[in-house]
Point group: C2
Chain length 234, copies 2
DNA sequence: CCGGAAACTTTTGAATACCAAATAGCGCAA
DNA sequence: TTGCGCTATTTGGTATTCAAAAGTTTCCGG
């Protein structure tokens, strides 16, 4: 019944469910504080409760939701503090990723995928999906770094990065593309120290540019607790 | 049947299952390359397949196992490269945690839990479970840092840290306790820059002391592929 | 005697049905 | 109006079942 495509050799149904929920949360379709009703969601996503219940612990580990025993799962409310924390950790991980990537290039790895990603980011429509292209670039750096544990930590961080970027559409700071280009070229030339420093500067500039906007738009605390099931109407 | 304790208001069954498997993997009871048979394990742990299948994706996100579609889950083989990666990321995260914790103390937070943890680490039996006490101290620092995203990334890292420590029993380097004491006191005095630097030095010393031992004991690559179901006998 | 194809078996992925416990909302009474 | 108890929904978990894919074994032909 729930199997219109017999050859689902993809990433497993529970991960598809997790990704679908992730997107709904990031897009604001499921606002902070929403209760995730298992039956409702499994009906909506056309799956049984099994893959859904496999997806929820993943989303909880990523900080998208939090579950209380016997009370259900609720969408996390993204606060200003969360935004600060994202920048805190990007500032620690992205310079390391850049350093690793540059070291790999210096050791003989090819940066062509990274350069292609930069080119793709440049040729895209200026305002359209700038956040997605930004994330893609950073993911490409992590891939080039070829560091398994870094990849895991980054993917955990990345969900929140995407969430944050969705909340700040005016991220097309003039000069940001130049920063990306400088960083990518430092990596492509195999200069780890320069790449690390540029990545630090890039994150720090992003923090400085974003936080003023965010402090107006984000709540400072998760909203005490209101009555009914917090769902957005159709 | 599988409910001898009716008041399981604890951390949820799937997390208990995850923790049990984590322990078996870290302790070597489930060696690298072992196939995790769902039926076998659920029978052994006295649970149904549901909590088990909720636990497996968590273990996969932590890098303890890797799952191939329709082929099952296999215990990750801890290699020398993994050990290097653990130190790489401890070197980035623990200094930040120490800095945060010291800042919190400077802002008025009480370091008493951290000092108690240090005292407990000192009064324990020297050789007995040194690894556990070491991890506890670092977890206490992260707790004091009061940084949600850092906590999540650290908990992901922590599983591998414990795994690594179990593989190196001779971690009681003389002077390690002094390092810990210095670090804790820098935090307790609210000196972020000093705490950060000491944490960096601590991790770097640990790397230098451990890697020579590890390079003899750990495989360089995951072992091509063994014959049958790789299980240790009872 | 060895290699390959077909049939069989095992195991995973997923659905369905079901149950117990606990929370939450509701009505009722003081 | 406010506090209390009842009902009803929902979660956490089990057992059972099914389809499909992977692995294994067997058997036949060269």
């Amino acid at each position: 019944m729930a199997n219109p495509e017999p050859s689902e050799l993809g990433p497993g149904l529970s991960e598809q469910v997790a990704e679908a929920l992730r997107e709904r949360i990031i897009s604001g379709q499921l606002p902070g504080g929403s209760k995730l009703n298992e039956r409702e969601l499994s009906a909506e996503l056309q799956v049984s409760r099994i893959p859904l219940r496999e997806a929820l612990p993943l989303l909880e580990a990523e900080g998208f939701i939090h579950s209380e025993a016997r009370r259900g799962s609720f969408v996390h409310t993204f606060t200003l503090r969360d935004a600060v924390e994202v920048f805190d950790l990007r500032l620690r991980l992205e310079p390391f990723a850049a350093q690793c990537a540059a070291l790999r290039v210096a050791g003989g790895a090819s940066p062509e995928d990274l350069l292609a990603s930069l080119e793709f980011a440049r040729t895209g429509v200026p305002g359209e999906q700038a956040s997605g292209r930004n994330s893609d670039l950073h993911e490409e750096i992590v891939r080039l770094a070829d560091h398994d544990l870094l990849r895991r930590l980054s993917s955990l961080l990345n969900g929140r990065v995407r969430w944050l970027f969705r909340l700040t559409p005016e991220r097309d700071t003039p000069g940001m593309w130049e920063e990306h280009a400088e960083l990518v070229h430092a990596i492509a030339e195999g200069r780890p120290a320069l790449a690390e420093a540029l990545a630090s500067a890039h994150v720090e500039r992003g923090r400085h540019a974003s936080l003023p906007h965010l402090s107006e738009r984000l709540p400072s605390e998760p909203v005490p607790r209101r009555g009914r099931k917090t769902r957005s109407p159709a």
